[in-house]
Homo-oligomer: 120 residues x 2
DNA sequence: ATAGCGGGCTGGAGTAACTTCAGGTCAAGG
DNA sequence: CCTTGACCTGAAGTTACTCCAGCCCGCTAT
């Protein structure tokens, strides 16, 4: 698969994918004889997961750690599982944060409406 | 109110508060004769709102714009209302992103469990 | 066959939003 | 009087990208 296809699939930008490879967040990608990256389906799936983790706020050092475990092999699955469970908990926290913000916005918007109502 | 109190209240770090003042994200804070910042209750409330908006992913240029409107006065309330409504929609999108990620994590975790179950 | 595309490559500079640091002021306590 | 703690400033450092200049390669229209 070409880099542009993986970008479309994963939601990461082409530059970000190259950056991720350079900084060890994904395994080194095989190259064609012209130097272009040839992504396997597994590569693409991995980057899609990273994209999702990033978008939901996983710190990159965790991502880096996770990537290291992934490249080490199946023996690290218990630890990877632990990391993903931890992230699930972070998702709950984010969910809470969003709800609190929603409530705050509702409060502010109500106040704005009161002010606008008064002046008209 | 002292900066440390506002930091505790708002959830922003002391450094971030100073940075926000310097870059115009909050109105200039009054100073005591020793040069320390003396926050009003309104200042503190504003920073708390900014903290919440930041934590839920409002781009800082929007925050800057919003801050400009705030400092201009009540005439800008309709536009501020519009910005907050827009942010509400972004919150929904984030909510979706989190849910998609949850589903993905559940999928990965199930796969890990299958692998671990097999090998035991 | 050659000129112009489109897509990919690299190394390096630029950016956003903080964060950390060095060095200094001031008020209060022992 | 000296230290401690909270605060100040300007500047440098960090993270995670993002953009850019300059180059290669294969394709296709002339």
């Amino acid at each position: 698969m070409r880099i542009s296809e993986v970008a479309a699939k994963s939601g990461l930008s082409i530059d970000t994918i190259r950056y991720y490879e350079k900084s060890g967040l994904c395994p080194p990608i095989a190259r064609g004889r012209d130097g272009t990256r040839q992504f396997t389906a597994e590569n693409a799936e991995w980057l899609t997961l990273l994209s999702s983790l990033r978008d939901t706020g996983m710190p990159t050092k965790d991502m880096r750690h996770f990537a290291g475990l992934y490249q080490t092999g199946d023996a690290t699955i218990p630890e990877r599982k632990h990391l993903l469970l931890e992230h699930s908990r972070r998702l709950e926290a984010r969910h809470e944060t969003i709800n609190r913000c929603k409530a705050l916005l509702a409060h502010k918007l109500a106040r704005y409406d009161r002010i606008l109502g008064q002046s008209s």
